[in-house]
Symmetry: C2
C-alpha cells in the first residue's frame, strides 16, 4: 500500500502562536540559533490501490476541502519517498 | 537562511484517535480508498548560519528532548528540499 503525505501549514502571513511559543522556549533550553519556528500538521494517508494522477487529484481535493482550511493554511500533497512535491498550493 | 523540517508522528503501535476520526469521516464526505490516516506534527525551523552536521546534531537533540515525546512518538529531521531523511529515529 502506498503512503501519501499531506503537510498543512499556516500561511506565512498568519500568526503562529504555537510556533512562537516553541521558538521562545528554545534559548531557555539551551538551543540558540533558531530564528523562527512554524508548527503545522502532517497527515499520512495509506492509499488502497495505485497512486496515479487520479488518486492524487482526489487526495488534493480532500486536502483542500477537509484537511486544510485554505483561508489560513497552505498544504502540499506528495507520495512518501518522492523528493518533489506534487499538487502543491504553496 | 536554511530551513530544517522536523516531523513528529505517533509510533505505529500507539492509537491515533485524531487520525482515526479523519479516516472515518472520509467515506461520509465521498472519499473512498483510504485505508488508514495518521496525524502528526510538522515543525519548520529557520536556522541561522550553516546547516552542517553539528547544527543537525543539535536539532536532533532538540527534537528528542523537546519537540517529540519519544515514549510515544517518532521523529525525523531533514533539511528542507533534500530528499533523504537525516538523523531519523524511524
Amino acid at each position: 500500500m502506498a503512503r501519501v503525505v499531506v503537510d498543512v501549514m499556516l500561511k506565512p502571513e498568519i500568526l503562529d502562536p504555537q510556533g512562537q511559543a516553541v521558538q521562545r522556549a528554545l534559548p531557555r533550553l539551551g538551543f540558540e540559533g533558531i530564528a523562527d519556528v512554524r508548527q503545522g500538521k502532517r497527515f499520512e494517508l495509506e492509499v488502497e490501490g495505485p497512486v496515479d494522477e487520479a488518486a492524487l487529484a482526489r487526495i488534493h481535493e480532500m486536502a483542500e476541502t477537509f484537511l486544510a482550511n485554505t483561508v489560513i493554511e497552505d498544504f502540499t500533497v506528495r507520495v512518501d519517498g518522492e523528493a518533489a512535491a506534487a499538487g502543491a498550493d504553496r
